[in-house]
C-alpha cells in the first residue's frame, strides 16, 4: 500500500466513522432533505458542496416503463472505491429525495429497493465518496394501470 492509497483508505474510514458515529447530526439535516419539495432543495442535502461528476461506472437498474408507479424496483451498484453513501432522487416526485443509504466498508456498493413514482420522471442516482460525487440518471415512464393482469 503506497502513501496515497493509505491516505485514501484513512479518508474513507474517517468519513464512514463520522457518518455512522454521529447519526443525529446527519439525520437532522437529512430529514430536511426528505421534506424538500424541489430537486434543488433535495440535492442541497445530498451533495453538500462536493464536486459532482457524471459516471458510466454506475450500474443503475430501473425499468424504462414502470408496471405500476407504486412499486418500481431499483438496483444501484458500482465498482467505484470508497463509496460512503448512495442517494436516489426522483425529480418529479412531491419530495424528490426518496432514499439515502450510508455504507460502511463492510458492505459492497450494491443496494436494491422499491420506490413510488407519482408520474414519469428522471430518476437520479448520486454515489458519494469523501471527495467527490458520481451521478447518473435514467428516464422512467409511468403508465397508470387500467385493465391489467
Amino acid at each position: 500500500m503506497n502513501r496515497r492509497q493509505w491516505i485514501n483508505t484513512m479518508a474513507v474510514l474517517g468519513a464512514t466513522v463520522a457518518t455512522l458515529a454521529s447519526p443525529l447530526r446527519v439525520l437532522a439535516s437529512l430529514r430536511d432533505g426528505f421534506k424538500a419539495t424541489t430537486l434543488e432543495g433535495a440535492l442541497a442535502e445530498v451533495l453538500h458542496g462536493l464536486p459532482v461528476e457524471e459516471s458510466d461506472r454506475i450500474r443503475f437498474k430501473i425499468p424504462d416503463i414502470a408496471e405500476n408507479g407504486a412499486v418500481v424496483p431499483v438496483t444501484v451498484s458500482t465498482d467505484i472505491a470508497g463509496v460512503t453513501a448512495i442517494s436516489i432522487v426522483i425529480a418529479n416526485n412531491p419530495n424528490p429525495l426518496t432514499s439515502r443509504f450510508e455504507l460502511s466498508a463492510d458492505v459492497l456498493a450494491d443496494v436494491s429497493t422499491r420506490v413510488k413514482m407519482g408520474e414519469s420522471s428522471m430518476v437520479h442516482v448520486y454515489i458519494e465518496t469523501r471527495t467527490k460525487i458520481y451521478t447518473t440518471a435514467k428516464e422512467v415512464k409511468v403508465t397508470i394501470g387500467g385493465c391489467g393482469g
Binding site: 455512522l20 447519526p23 439525520l27 437529512l30 430529514r31 426528505f34 407504486a70 412499486v71 418500481v72 424496483p73 426522483i90 416526485n93 412531491p94 419530495n95 429525495l97 426518496t98 432514499s99 439515502r100 443509504f101 450510508e102 455504507l103 460502511s104 466498508a105 463492510d106 458492505v107 459492497l108 450494491d110 443496494v111 436494491s112 429497493t113 422499491r114 420506490v115 413510488k116 413514482m117
Partner: protein, 103 residues
C-alpha cells in the same frame, strides 16, 4: 406491535446477499380515505443493519419508498454463522427488527 422484518440471505464467494421485506403501510401523508380525510404520514425513516452486532449499512427513507418496503444489500467477508440484524424506526417512533443467521 409492528410485524417482524422478513429476511433471507445466501453467501456466495464470501459475500452475503441479504434480502429483507418489512411489513409497513408507508403512508405518504397525501392520500385521502373514503371520507376525504387526509391519512396521516406513517413511514419508516431509518433502517439500521448489523453484522455480528456491528453496524454495516443504514438506510434513510422518505415516504416514497413503496409500501411493505424491500431492501437488499451485500455484506463482505461473510461466513456461515454470521448474524445479520435489521431494525427500523418510523416517524411515529414505532420499531421492529429481524434477525438471520447466515448459512
Amino acid at each position: 406491535m409492528a410485524a417482524k422484518v422478513k429476511m433471507r440471505g445466501k453467501i456466495k464467494a464470501g459475500i452475503a446477499e441479504v434480502k429483507t421485506l418489512m411489513p409497513h403501510p408507508m403512508e405518504t401523508g397525501t392520500r385521502r380515505d373514503a371520507d376525504g380525510a387526509l391519512i396521516p404520514a406513517h413511514h419508516i425513516e431509518t433502517v439500521t443493519c448489523y453484522k455480528n452486532g456491528k453496524q454495516v449499512i443504514v438506510a434513510h427513507w422518505g415516504p416514497a419508498v413503496s409500501k411493505n418496503p424491500f431492501f437488499s444489500f451485500k455484506v463482505k467477508d461473510s461466513v456461515p454463522g454470521d448474524v445479520i440484524k435489521v431494525s427500523w424506526v418510523d416517524n411515529r417512533g414505532e420499531r421492529s427488527s429481524g434477525e438471520l443467521v447466515l448459512k
